[in-house]
Symmetry: C2
Subunit: 299 residues, 2 copies
């Protein structure tokens, strides 16, 4: 698995991807439970069906099992008896911190870390809930249609979570000369780990075709899958926002995707602001070089 610390680094990034996919699944749970009013029985059936399709993975499979597990003490569903304070061993956080040092954007993993952190602020949240009295609006879509859109949004978001983590491995491997063979990483992950999934076979084929692929989203087959589900992802983010359901990691996956495929981000304005208040200079679109302007007030 490459040189020196490469094995540890790969395991850390694995866990970062795991954080993000788990957060995305929990947001889908929120959408279906509170947006559509699905019961645990319906969720069990749905995750079972999803696990028979392209979403097949260890995490979808155990989520299916969780929704059918009864609480021996009350006889109800165990998932409903579990407190919403999530723990963390730190590997998600380290992945985010390392990515920032390496100069790689992994916003879905960052958001997963944030949401676990926020979940632990239960006292503040209870005070805030009393003050804000939030209301969740039911999703006004045909449930079968929305369910299909959520499946696509989950699929595309999952691809993007992998894409972020894998792009960190590529860059860190280069910078630290770890020579991490991405093709072998995804093959080994497929063999057995918490993020094992059918999807990893697609990534394996992509790295087989191009071992130097900087981002899995640039593979033609992956791009075709993402493009096919992109509008559903947009629609789900749009519906969730209207309903008042927080889907931070799914949203972050969408923001990552839209920005990654954009030839022109609005960061030209940020460079203008930085040059205005701090003389940090900027580059131009029409020629090489570093420039600075004496910005004036224009009331």
């Amino acid at each position: 698995m490459g040189k020196d610390a490469a094995g540890h680094f790969v395991k850390m990034v694995h866990n970062g991807i795991e954080y993000a996919i788990m957060e995305v699944i929990s947001e889908v749970y929120d959408l279906l439970k509170n947006g559509l009013g699905y019961t645990n029985d319906q969720l069990h059936e749905l995750f079972g069906r999803w696990n028979d399709g392209r979403l097949q993975s260890f995490l979808i499979e155990i989520t299916r099992d969780i929704f059918a597990t009864k609480d021996p003490e009350t006889g109800g569903y165990l998932v409903d008896m579990i407190l919403d304070k999530a723990g963390a061993k730190g590997t998600g956080k380290w992945t985010s911190q390392d990515a920032m040092d390496t100069g790689v954007a992994i916003p879905s993993i960052d958001m997963a870390v944030s949401m676990r952190t926020l979940s632990a602020y239960k006292d503040d949240r209870l005070k805030a809930a009393a003050l804000y009295q939030p209301v969740i609006h039911k999703i006004q879509e045909d449930p079968a249609k929305f369910e299909a859109q959520v499946e696509a949004a989950l699929y595309v978001s999952t691809i993007i979570c992998y894409a972020q983590g894998l792009s960190l491995l590529v860059k860190a491997s280069e910078e630290l000369q770890m020579e991490i063979p991405l093709k072998d990483v995804v093959k080994i992950w497929r063999g057995g780990c918490i993020i094992r999934s059918t999807l990893l076979e697609t990534f394996y084929q992509a790295y087989l075709a191009d071992p130097n692929l900087s981002n899995i989203l640039l593979d033609a087959k992956v791009a075709a899958e993402v493009k096919a589900g992109q509008q559903d992802l947009r629609d789900v983010v749009s519906q969730a926002a209207k309903s008042g359901i927080a889907i931070g990691a799914i949203q972050s996956s969408l923001a990552y995707l839209e920005s990654f495929v954009s030839a022109k981000m609005p960061t030209n304005l940020i460079q203008a602001q930085r040059d205005n208040f701090g003389s940090h200079t900027y580059q131009r679109t029409d020629k090489e070089g570093i420039f600075h302007t004496q910005w004036e007030a224009h009331p």
Copy 2:
């Protein structure tokens, strides 16, 4: 400004908040320019108007000036000639990394760091743009109505960016015994710094009333302002998603808000998953203690 390293810490968090607000403004620019088709003249006029209202701040003011600044070389608007690769000196990144170590969620600042990072991957983005051929759909709202909603979304998002940074100062001050006086911090910021704004007066009053306020969103006056704009924030996120415009930091502010005011997050599922695959245990909603279940398959 408190003890020992407190001054440096306060300056770092100031810059983290600055990153987030600048990112939010750049996303508003994207929405207005590409979603509504506003010209630089219109943006200049609008930011001028905004700067005369509750959004009054140094960053809104210089953004107004930027939209009126001409490029001496081409005669066009300078902002259009600036390359969209944003630089960074590292203070945003350090704020995010420190927040993760301190156990405080600051997702809007994290997203601002991610977006600057992504902006620098220009080669990959150009390849991805050719592969994905993204299309921005114009926003199908009455421009005057949407403009007012964007103003509210920008206002609420800005409050949330401050809230995240200030909550980090509160927690870090406690943990590291820095005794940072929040009331004085916002007063000094108001006096002169890049994030100086009329809003800081509201925060000053909040800390005057309760020096131990853990999160500015728990202040009654701030809560009233946020609640008044919350639906507009949701609508703007919803519209942006449909249009294909990435507004990661605005979305992250919404996800933070919805989660912070939620008495019940879907993280119970994450705890179930963690206990299922790693015996990480969970707490229950009906009694104290730490529990573990032997989860079984339920196909």
